[in-house]
């Protein structure tokens, strides 16, 4: 399926240095070979029954729902965060940037512990949450929160990079044409940074979909409620590593399809 390419017809590629293709191919091989190796080890006989089992289907459905939800949350909160980091200057901005990056390097399991310390019954906000009658930990909400926590920085960092690379020349023009900041944001900034936002959203979605450590710690592993596909895979691995590999294949295929669909609908715009 050829990607619709924005490059105007008739414009020839400038030509990359030939040597570039060598490391690119090596890198691609390094990524692709393990996937091929994985494929060769799958027992295709039991594949069908395995991936259609109740628990697998429940886990897949849950994973998709929660990952999409947390990607949406990442966009809702991450786009403003990236904007503030890329387009304003304030005292302590570099500290703010570092703080936002932290979940990137926190081992996910520790991230889960931190979330428990915050939103758990005995956590920082536990009392508040209880008073509000909410039950967060060990619910599907907790899964979404865990995924959002780990995925958010991916969106913020890559989007901030894209915003800075793009510059603000067109935003300036829009302002002199009388567009208020909101209009500038919606009609100029956002459309122009769309490739960067798409990359960021893909990264966030992928990170959410693969999230394991924070989820098992903060949300637990209840079938249909908090046991996402990675958790199911982890459990399968206890007994049958090959089943885990087969399930991963499902995860990979689903992710690829979702990503391809978003790309397609974007280029179709």
């Amino acid at each position: 399926m050829p990607l619709v390419h924005p490059m105007p017809r008739g414009r020839p590629p400038l030509g990359l240095p030939a040597w570039v293709f060598v490391p690119a191919a090596v890198g691609a091989m390094f990524v692709v070979l393990p996937l091929v190796a994985m494929l060769t080890r799958i027992e295709w006989g039991s594949f069908g029954s395995l991936i259609t089992s109740d628990s697998s289907r429940a886990a897949l459905a849950l994973s998709l729902r929660t990952s999409l939800a947390s990607t949406v949350l990442c966009i809702v909160f991450g786009v403003p965060m990236a904007l503030v980091l890329a387009r304003t200057e304030f005292r302590g901005q570099s500290i703010a940037r570092s703080l936002v990056l932290l979940p990137l390097v926190l081992p996910p399991v520790v991230g889960g512990i931190a979330l428990l310390y915050t939103f758990g019954r005995r956590g920082l906000l536990g009392h508040t949450i209880e008073v509000l009658g909410l039950q967060i930990a060990f619910s599907t909400t907790a899964v979404v929160m865990a995924q959002t926590f780990v995925a958010l920085p991916f969106l913020v960092v890559s989007l901030e990079g894209a915003l800075r690379t793009g510059g603000q020349r067109f935003e300036e023009v829009a302002a002199t044409l009388g567009a208020r900041p909101t209009t500038v944001f919606l009609r100029v900034t956002l459309p122009l940074v769309l490739p960067g936002l798409a990359s960021g959203a893909v990264l966030a979605f992928a990170r959410a979909l693969g999230e394991f450590g924070a989820t098992i710690t903060f949300a637990g592993s209840l079938q249909g409620v908090t046991r996402t596909l990675p958790l199911e895979i982890y459990l399968q691995r206890e007994t049958d590593p090959q089943a885990a590999v087969a399930l991963s294949l499902v995860l990979v295929v689903v992710a690829t399809v979702v990503i391809a669909l978003t790309r397609r609908s974007r280029t179709a715009l």
Binding site: G220, Q223, R237
Partner: protein
């Protein structure tokens, strides 16, 4: 040993009585169980639901220490089944359990080797030979402390190439042939089917790992929780556990 035998006898009697008083049992419980119990407990849960129509048992499988900290943070758990006494002790110390925990199974170590046993391992002493790649659990995790115990008992000094985080990781290295041998539980060897071969060794008796289970104080369905504990320690449960290679506690 004492509490356990009494527990198992009570359970077998209440197991029969359970079918008589099943009208009293209804509702839903969540069982927090060690990840290594996934296969067996899922089967026990299914039997249990069949025996007590109208009840639902859901499971939260994870590492025992994860489970304890989740319970400590207020997770909605009714029953806790730990893979070692140490983590159960954390729960009892924090007065989270309803009554004394009951040991329901035990497990000993075995040498796991890849199919065909390429390094020709026959005894624990072979693991100390130079050039043999051995993986064990890290001393911080239950199977690792067990491994250390047997090594000490057998006066064998194994130099592992890796001290893994869990039994599963050890099995993975052995099954893939990456390591020549590993120390894991009997049940793990059995569970792995023909992907690894088990080699028993005498010194394994020096480290017996026991699995305790307990209903929890905060349970909203205490009677159902107790009934599940009894089902595990009862005949049906014990049968399933034995089939998976677990020894009596």
């Amino acid at each position: 040993g004492d509490g356990t035998s009494s527990g198992s006898s009570t359970s077998s009697s209440s197991g029969t009585s359970a079918s008589g008083t099943s009208a009293a049992l209804s509702g839903q419980i969540t069982v927090f169980a060690a990840a290594s119990l996934k296969k067996t407990f899922t089967a026990i849960g299914a039997e249990f639901e069949k025996a007590h129509p109208g009840t639902t048992v859901t499971f939260n499988f994870a590492g025992s220490s994860d489970l304890v900290s989740q319970i400590q943070q207020g997770a909605p758990a009714d029953v806790f089944a730990s893979a070692d006494a140490k983590n159960m002790a954390k729960a009892t110390t924090a007065s989270l359990t309803a009554g004394q925990p009951v040991n329901f199974a035990s497990n000993t170590l075995e040498i796991a080797v890849p199919p065909g046993n390429p390094a020709k391992i026959t005894s624990l002493a072979d693991l100390a030979k130079p050039g043999i790649k051995v993986v064990v659990c890290a001393p911080a995790v239950p199977c690792g402390s067990a491994a250390a115990t047997v090594e000490r008992a057998a006066k064998v000094d194994v130099k592992p190439v890796s001290e893994e985080q869990s039994v599963t990781d050890v099995l993975g290295k052995v099954a893939s042939g990456e390591a020549d041998a590993g120390l894991v539980y009997v049940t793990d060897v059995k569970g792995a089917g023909d992907k690894v071969k088990g080699i028993e060794f005498a010194e394994s008796s020096s480290a017996v790992n026991t699995y305790p289970i307990a209903a929890l104080k905060r349970s909203t369905n205490g009677s159902l929780a107790q009934a599940f504990v009894q089902a595990v320690t009862g005949q049906a449960g014990q049968g399933i556990l034995a089939a998976a290679g677990f020894a009596k506690p």
